[in-house]
């Protein structure tokens, strides 16, 4: 979009940013031509297409489109809907990396698709490959009441810094950075290669708590704290130091041991940090400092939306809740407090009962774009839980929004509940999968179809991955489900006790893997154990913490036997 039509609260690309994205499209067009002419081998072409978001999957190419820090405009959303309709099968898949994937793409069409994206300042740059990936953050950034610092500003700084970084484009393995600006950490920063918690010190200065070496996959690790405080000015220098140590010492002999988490684990955090500190001591200082003027300039480009001056108490909103219990229930699960009085953040569930987690049709995308224009300043966010967010809705308009969302099947009141399941594409699409993930999610969702029952169960995360790569974050779910292959048959290993938040934890395996048809009943059995032992106000994870895994084990294997 041009700045005249651009919505507020979105980073406005200027001419230079736009030129860069268009040049990248032309670069990729040239790479495709060289590949087709045989000037590049497939081996050489692969990382180039990956750095442009293009994967070869089971049935077709998959194109992963960046949604930097998960924020997009209604114009961009309409373009995604259009691409879904013309180049895919009429839908797209929102992912745990706040991105969008199209699963049915033709290689020959990709340069044109990238061109269409570039017209609305979108791209697929660094959504894949062994480079610094698209930075992720809190879906309520710039809006949440509990926010200390708007993480978008720093996420954008990181986007610029990492874009086509000359030194760090051929790392041992992919590199994921997440940043949160609220103590609640909705960005799962501790399971990223680098996690940043932006905060303020007693002098009201901005700095970062830095976590390093987290990750999931076949060896899951919760990140270790590298520094409690890195001043804003030194933030990039510190990241450069970490990346440089990783680029020099990270393993390249075995791709399964190439992530930074393995380096941190094998060296030990102290030794690792000795290297980082030495590098940091050398490169910090004026030459590598982040200029406060630049920070201010970027801040200015995230213009806050022109929020009306409203009272905190909204009688229409209270009345609607009182007279419409279904609305009240949706408000209870699908909204969070906004920092401005009279406003609220609404989550649009992409998890209808029995649906495919994260899938949205082109019609739904267009509907969301229209609703965003009318209710939320034309701005939409993608949550890593694979839902969408309208972040700045007037409370007095919320009932009207909800009514419209229902018509598009986007108002399931299940955020944070048992049917708000994260699932990777699994064997339905993915060439690496052991087992399907989507039908398992659908089966569990249907088993718990009764929304009152879900509400009674309360906060509970279920995540499913189709193989040990853990794209579905199963390790950090309260109940995690991992597809494994037992002599050609799809089986599922269940873990409990994982947590993706500020007190991140990796789940423990409950027992032997189960066949697909037993999984929904097994999940129900686990939930029933919790309900049986639950004390007032306890979440699943709290009860589990108090009583331990044993009762769950016994019940699960009694139930399955």
């Amino acid at each position: 979009m041009t700045s005249s039509t651009g919505p507020v609260g979105l980073y406005q690309y200027d001419a230079v940013d736009r030129e860069f994205v268009h040049e990248r499209v032309e670069q990729f067009r040239g790479q495709v031509e060289r590949r087709l002419a045989g000037d590049l081998t497939e081996d050489e072409f692969k990382p180039l297409r990956l750095m442009n978001g293009l994967y070869l999957q089971l049935h077709a190419y998959m194109l992963r489109i960046a949604v930097p820090y998960g924020v997009l405009s209604s114009t961009q959303m309409r373009r995604l809907a259009h691409i879904g309709r013309v180049h895919d099968k009429g839908y797209g898949h929102f992912t745990t990396r706040q991105n969008l994937q199209f699963n049915w793409i033709k290689l020959a069409e990709t340069p044109d698709i990238l061109g269409e994206l570039a017209d609305v300042n979108m791209h697929a740059i660094q959504t894949s490959g062994n480079c610094i990936r698209n930075v992720t953050t809190d879906q309520f950034c710039g809006a949440a009441a509990d926010e200390v610092i708007d993480p978008r500003v720093y996420a954008e700084i990181l986007r610029q810094w990492s874009t086509n970084h000359p030194e760090f484009s051929f790392l041992p393995r992919k590199f994921k950075i997440a940043i949160s600006g609220s103590p609640a950490d909705r960005a799962a920063v501790k399971v990223h290669d680098i996690g940043l918690l932006a905060k303020r010190n007693a002098e009201d200065e901005v700095g970062f708590e830095v976590w390093v070496g987290g990750g999931l996959g076949r060896s899951p690790f919760v990140a270790k704290k590298a520094r409690d405080w890195v001043p804003e000015a030194d933030g990039l220098a510190y990241l450069e130091a970490i990346l440089r140590v990783y680029n020099q010492f990270g393993r390249r002999d075995n791709m399964y041991k190439a992530r930074i988490k393995i380096l941190v684990h094998e060296l030990g955090i102290e030794k690792f940090l000795t290297h980082v500190d030495a590098e940091f001591a050398r490169i910090r200082g004026p030459k590598f400092a982040l200029d406060p003027e630049l920070v201010a300039a970027i801040q200015a480009r995230f213009a806050p939306p022109p929020l009306a001056d409203l009272p905190g108490h909204c009688p229409e909103f209270e009345a609607a809740k009182a007279s419409d219990p279904a609305f009240a229930r949706w408000v209870a699960t699908n909204t969070v407090a906004h920092k401005a009085p009279g406003y609220i953040c609404a989550t649009l569930s992409l998890k209808p009962i029995g649906g495919i987690p994260g899938d949205a049709t082109s019609e739904q995308m267009e509907a969301v774009a229209d609703l965003a224009d009318r209710y939320s300043f034309g701005e939409i966010r993608v949550a890593h839980e694979q839902n969408l967010v309208l972040a700045h809705v007037r409370k007095d308009a919320l009932h009207a929004l909800w009514t419209e969302l229902k018509a598009h099947d986007l108002a399931t009141p299940n955020i944070g509940l048992v049917s708000d399941i994260i699932a990777c594409p699994g064997l339905d699409y993915c060439a690496l999968a052991n087992a399907r993930a989507i039908p398992i999610a659908q089966g569990i969702s249907e088993r718990f179809a009764d929304l009152d029952r879900q509400l009674a169960i309360g906060d509970l995360s279920i995540n499913i991955s189709g193989c040990i790569n853990a794209c579905g974050h199963h390790h950090v779910a309260n109940i995690g489900i991992l597809g494994v292959d037992k002599k050609g048959v799809e089986f599922y290993q269940i873990t409990v006790g994982g947590n993706a938040g500020i007190d991140a934890a990796i789940g423990d395996i409950v027992g032997p893997a189960l066949p697909a048809e037993e999984v929904p009943a097994a999940i129900e059995a686990l939930v029933n154990v919790y309900l049986h032992y639950r004390k007032d106000g306890e979440r699943f994870i709290d009860t589990l913490g108090r009583i331990g895994i044993q009762p769950f084990k016994e019940t699960l294997y009694a139930a399955a036997a």
């Binding site: 940013d17 032309e26 670069q27 610029q160 810094w161 000359p166 051929f170 990039l236 020099q248 400092a289």
Partner: protein, 166 residues
């Protein structure tokens, strides 16, 4: 094998990369392995002709840091183009150790890496005989914007100024 300067221009190669089993000639610009440099440092340093060292991937810039005055060329081996350690070594040689001699990328690099190598401080790239030089030269001008300052001539803050580079 053709040799390209950071401008994309093909230039004559003044250096001979010497396998370890070949004797070191008395004259002429030669490049020896890091291993040989370590073992024969005294004799090699006494030679009255230009000397370079070939760093295998995995060697660090600090491995040759004490000798930089004596080395007219440092060649970085890229065993596989995906092995990006050389980018860091080049940048450290320039930025941390102030090396001003020639840094050469050898081994398996691809045209798309050429501009990145140059921005990290590499001065020459050895390209395969089969390479289409126009593609390599074009690669230098494909992206005219960089979000980070290149190593050479760096005075401004690290990042976040977009630079016209081509």
């Amino acid at each position: 094998m053709p040799l390209l300067r950071e401008t994309g221009e093909a230039v004559a190669d003044a250096w001979t990369i010497l396998p370890d089993d070949r004797p070191v000639p008395a004259g002429g610009a030669v490049v020896v392995s890091l291993k040989r440099w370590r073992e024969e440092r005294e004799t090699l340093a006494g030679r009255d002709a230009p000397l370079g060292v070939l760093l295998p991937s995995g060697a660090l810039a600090s491995d040759v840091a004490p000798d930089l005055q004596r080395l007219g060329l440092i060649a970085l081996d890229f065993p596989k183009f995906r092995d990006g350690r050389g980018f860091t070594v080049a940048r450290e040689l320039r930025e941390r150790f102030g090396y001003t001699g020639e840094i050469r990328a050898t081994g398996h690099v691809i045209a798309d890496q050429f501009p990145l190598l140059v921005r990290c401080g590499v001065s020459t790239v050895q390209v395969p005989d089969t390479a289409k030089l126009d593609q390599w030269q074009a690669a230098l001008g494909t992206l005219t914007i960089a979000y980070q300052k290149a190593v050479a001539g760096e005075e401004l803050p690290l990042s976040l100024r977009r630079f016209k580079v081509a």
